[in-house]
């Protein structure tokens, strides 16, 4: 995925994906043609869900994928006004897809628990490799950090932006950004529940 930020020469309020912001606002206002354009852009969401599931070794049947895609898109629609254009639209939507998959897995676990009370025990899905579930949990905890820590963690760890560049963007010395990042890791460690470490084990 292309980088999200104009790293030099821009102030912190700049929105690199201004056209995407405009599209989101126009679609939210139901301006003619905007929903059509948004639909074209986000027709990739079902593939996104399938890709996350497959790469996490989780199998969903087609109906579940459709449901999760629809729930994702409805959530996106409801939040269109909050899209700030700091990343391309598709990357922003990916966050919604991740959370919806997590919800889908929770629903499935709940349904299975109900079924196994009546039927014999069904085999549990065991994601392998990088578990989407663990990653989503980690990102949830990142978002719970005190600002500007979530942004610093995202920029450094997920987007590979250097600390001095992050500092310029957020109006602080690069070393301060680095210190906040490192303290954030310690705080994340304290926030993560035991099952996160079990998943990694």
């Amino acid at each position: 995925m292309r980088r999200l930020l104009r790293l030099m020469g821009g102030d912190a309020s700049e929105t690199p994906f201004e056209q995407d912001v405009q599209l989101a606002r126009d679609a939210a206002a139901q301006k003619p043609g905007a929903i059509d354009k948004l639909t074209d852009r986000l027709a990739c969401v079902p593939t996104m869900i399938r890709a996350i599931a497959r790469r996490s070794s989780i199998s969903f049947h087609a109906g579940e994928v459709d449901d999760m895609a629809q729930n994702t898109l409805i959530a996106v629609w409801q939040r269109l006004d909050s899209f700030e254009g700091r990343a391309p639209l598709e990357q922003w939507v990916l966050g919604f897809a991740r959370f919806e998959i997590r919800n889908g897995l929770r629903r499935r676990d709940r349904d299975r628990r109900l079924q196994t009370e009546e039927v014999t025990e069904a085999p549990q899905e065991q994601p392998s490799g990088m578990s989407s579930d663990a990653y989503v949990l980690l990102l949830e905890k990142v978002e719970e950090l005190t600002p500007p820590a979530p942004e610093i963690v995202r920029l450094y760890a997920l987007d590979g932006v250097k600390f001095d560049v992050i500092g310029r963007r957020l109006g602080m010395p690069g070393n301060t950004a680095k210190t906040i990042y490192h303290r954030s890791l310690s705080r994340l460690r304290a926030k993560l529940p035991a099952d996160f470490w079990e998943e990694l084990a």
């Binding site: 030099m8 990739c44 987007d159 590979g160 890791l185």
Partner: protein, 243 residues
């Protein structure tokens, strides 16, 4: 070890000022198993974030690539699913904002008016949604958006002062370029990113000081159309001739 000392020790490890395998670090871990555990978990968090980053890139690349199959049966079906979700969401948003709570319960004139207004609005929306959906089926197949051609520099380069590329597309509105110190395409520290470039070349601004960049870099360029949709992306790896 005081709390401050612990924090400083861990920060030194994270900054790379102290090697976790050094005798000094190992001796501290030996004495303080909780500290060793804390360090292991911090490393795991860093690795998880890094793995997640690659995971997201792969998922997005796959999702964006699916646009090439927009004409296929599955591509059309996916688009219909998205259109249907937005119709549902728009209808639901209208219902929530237009139907006053009092109108649902009181049953008075004001409530009936509100109900009539919302029913009429909902009916209009259904008609709009239907005509929109029909329009979607009539839409001509997406045109071939074009492709990026040669990227320069690629391979051995004299300097990193000018980046050029070609594109065979009339739909291109802007480009985003990204330069990384690299071991492989898409990996390594980000050295520069510029978005919204109108031309097919880019000179790093003096603030980037490209002469200080490492000798091996990878760079990528992404072409966008006027709606912000990605047309194509390509990357090159190059090495500056020995200085």
């Amino acid at each position: 070890m005081s709390l401050d000392e612990r924090e400083q020790f861990l920060q030194d490890l994270m900054d790379g000022r102290l090697d976790a395998h050094s005798d000094e670090a190992q001796a501290r871990f030996e004495k303080d198993h909780e500290l060793a555990r804390e360090w292991r978990e911090l490393v795991q968090i860093t690795q998880s974030l890094s793995a997640g980053r690659q995971f997201e890139r792969d998922v997005l690349a796959e999702a964006l690539a699916s646009r090439a199959a927009a004409d296929s049966a599955s591509g059309k079906r996916d688009r219909e699913l998205v259109a249907e979700a937005f119709t549902k969401a728009a209808r639901s948003a209208l219902g929530a904002s237009e139907v006053p709570r009092a109108g649902r319960n009181a049953g008075g004139v004001r409530g009936r008016r509100a109900w009539l207004a919302s029913s009429a609005a909902a009916a209009c929306l259904v008609v709009l949604a239907a005509s929109w959906a029909l329009g979607a089926f009539d839409r001509p197949p997406p045109e071939d958006l074009g492709a990026l051609g040669e990227l320069s520099p690629s391979g051995v380069a004299e300097s990193f002062e000018l980046f050029r590329w070609t594109i065979d597309s009339s739909a291109t509105a802007s480009f985003t370029i990204e330069v990384r110190a690299t071991v492989a395409v898409g990996e390594g520290e980000v050295l520069a990113v510029e978005s919204g470039l109108p031309d097919t070349e880019w000179r790093p601004a003096p603030t980037y000081d490209s002469s200080t960049w490492p000798d091996s870099i990878s760079w990528s360029v992404t072409a966008y159309d006027a709606t912000g949709g990605m047309i194509d992306t390509d990357a090159a790896v190059c090495r500056r001739r020995g200085r």
